[in-house]
């Protein structure tokens, strides 16, 4: 078979650009009391970094969430707050 080390290719990997969560300046924080489990944040998180828990609540993967704030914008109940990362 062919020797793949000879040929420039990339293999699938989570975190191909590293832990992109470290890029975050603002952190999205879900106030579960306000959350209606509508899933809009999951649907629109441009990074795919919101997981749906078994209880249907959204959960953010902070290792990779870049803190863009799209989820906060699309949340109909304003359940997501963007808070500055502690330095």
């Amino acid at each position: 078979m062919i020797d793949l080390s000879e040929i420039p290719v990339a293999k699938p990997a989570k975190g191909s650009a590293g832990k992109t969560g470290t890029w975050r300046v603002l952190r999205p924080v879900i106030r579960y009391d306000k959350c209606t489990r509508c899933r809009l944040c999951i649907m629109y998180c441009v990074e795919n970094t919101i997981d749906q828990e078994p209880n249907l609540y959204p959960k953010i993967d902070y290792d990779y969430c870049k803190g863009c704030g799209v989820c906060a914008q699309v949340c109909p109940t304003k359940a997501i707050a963007m808070v500055p990362e502690v330095k």
Partner: protein
């Protein structure tokens, strides 16, 4: 010749910081070189810019491996990488921080974030810390960078009101830098 490494994040003006130092050094008749390192840099992602300042012509074009000075725009970088890699034993570190913690034999801090916020240098929620940091660096690099010249360069780079504010940040940074013992 002195070599610097400036560490920050995409969007913090790390490259501009290096260029401001070099430009002011050159405007004084010296030599300087600002070498940005380009990857696919993104807002928030770690970024490095390297600088050489000298009174003689500079021939080198390779990257800076053993800086004399490292400037860290954002303490959180320590959790992503080692910003001090390669720093000379007798080198200096300048941290943007409100917390004077010693990270190297010779450590300096300046609260560039606060300076920026006080002046109102905040864009899209981000404090613009680069000019305050550059001011603080000027204080550590007096041999190569003159404060007045630097302020001039900053005013040229940023037109109008913004120039004034940034020049003030430079000046406050220059004065605000403290050695950590």
């Amino acid at each position: 010749m002195i070599e610097l490494s400036i560490k920050g994040r995409g969007g913090q003006g790390v490259v501009t910081a290096g260029e401001l130092l070099v430009a002011s050094s050159i405007s004084e008749g010296f030599y300087g070189q600002s070498i940005p390192f380009y990857g696919g840099e993104r807002r928030g992602a770690p970024v490095t810019s390297e600088v050489r300042l000298s009174k003689e012509p500079i021939f080198l074009h390779r990257r800076v491996y053993n800086p004399d000075v490292v400037a860290v725009f954002d303490a959180s970088l320590f959790s992503v990488m080692n910003p001090l890699e390669g720093l000379k034993e007798n080198g200096k570190v300048l941290m943007n921080s409100s917390n004077p913690r010693k990270v190297w034999r010779e450590t300096y801090v300046v609260d560039a974030t606060k300076i920026a916020q006080d002046i109102g240098l905040v864009i899209a929620g981000w404090a613009v810390v680069n000019t305050a940091m550059v001011g603080a660096l000027a204080n550590l690099l007096k041999e190569y960078v003159d404060l007045d010249a630097l302020e001039e360069v900053v005013k040229e780079e940023f037109p109008g009101k913004l120039g004034e504010m940034n020049a003030e940040a430079v000046s406050l940074g220059y004065r605000g830098v403290k050695k950590v013992d």
